[in-house]
Amino acid sequence: MDFNQYIEDERLNIMLRDALQELGNIGVAHSATALSQILNRKVDMSVPRVALVPIEEMYKRISEVPDELVTAIATETVGGGKMDILMVMDEDSTRALLSVLRSGEIPDLANLTELDKEILVEVGNIIILHCVSAVNTFTGLKLYPLPPSIAVDMVNAILEHMLLKDGVYKTHVLSVEVDIFTESSNIKGIVFMFPDHRELDNLMNQLYGEGWDEI
């Protein structure tokens, strides 16, 4: 099924949104628990805002400024299906997260140390693992994310890379936007998953049963 059908057909759109919302809730709840354990303090997460969005919209969700520096953690899954996954945080959120995880002065994004980047990869890894695990639990798919990689760079350069990396221009992306609260800070992260429409159909078939779109 074409991505636009999901967006334009009201019924499909609602079914898809419900499914994604449920996936997002589970992924986020698990991530919050894992982060609490690592940070050894209470971590709350907002109900995630989940949507299938056209690519132009994806750019706007992060920043209107194409050369704004952001932290991006990316990986791809192997096993039951191949899907690219990207987690993005802006400068304020990155620094807020680091200040919870380590002591000392936090540099600006252009001057992060290798250690800072390793810390960020680990947090990104936890969140990505739980998002994928939620997808797997729900759908019976067996997606395994590879160890992620980090880039701190201009937001458009990163998004463009994710969109084009397989040599095919993707049109839509699954977006899971979440706020993470600790006592002292508020961190906003967005996880993007890049399925092609076969993968999205597969996911919906697993959730609602084969032929769900013909009922």
Partner: protein, 165 residues
């Protein structure tokens, strides 16, 4: 004459004359290609996404700028229409990086270097020399193409690079 800066977005092509300055912001695996005729001071910039246009489905009419195999001949034609001479054209290319390193990376996922290679092949076929190049690596770049001089400034925020090619 004060300069006027025009952004060339992803998949776009723009041409012009001084005092215009063309810029492509935040190139990752995309490649910005600046082509210039210094005698008549006409130049153009294409922000290219992929090496080859898809055969199926066929392209829509506003995607000339997305694919190297179509974008470069189109850009050259437009420059010639605006008074440039084919024999005087020179090119500078920027971008084509690989933003993430994955352990299992295949050649397929390195779209940046495929873009650069495709563009070099096409420029060679068209006999347009590459006089400046800043490609590869694992960081994003912004390029600023001054049509008064033909100079291209390359900026990387994280590598703290700022140089003229």
């Amino acid at each position: 004459m004060s300069e006027e800066i025009v952004s060339v977005g992803i998949g776009e092509i723009k041409i012009g004359r001084p005092p215009l300055v063309l810029q492509a912001v935040a190139l990752g695996s995309c490649v910005g290609i600046a082509i210039y005729d210094s005698a008549v001071k006409v130049g153009g910039l294409a922000h290219i996404m992929l090496p080859n246009s898809p055969k199926n489905p066929p392209m829509d009419s506003n995607s000339q700028g997305k694919f190297a195999d179509i974008a470069i001949p189109f850009l050259v034609e437009e420059l010639v229409k605006n008074g440039a001479s084919r024999s005087r054209l020179i090119a500078k290319i920027v971008g084509g990086s690989k933003m993430f390193e994955f352990n299992n990376s295949t050649a397929v996922s390195d779209i940046g270097s495929r873009n650069v290679q495709a563009i070099k092949n096409i420029l060679q076929e068209l006999s347009i020399p590459i006089v400046g190049e800043e490609t590869g690596g694992n960081y994003g770049r912004t390029m600023v193409f001054d049509l008064k001089t033909g100079s291209v400034e390359v900026i990387s925020l994280t590598q703290k690079i700022r140089k003229i090619i």
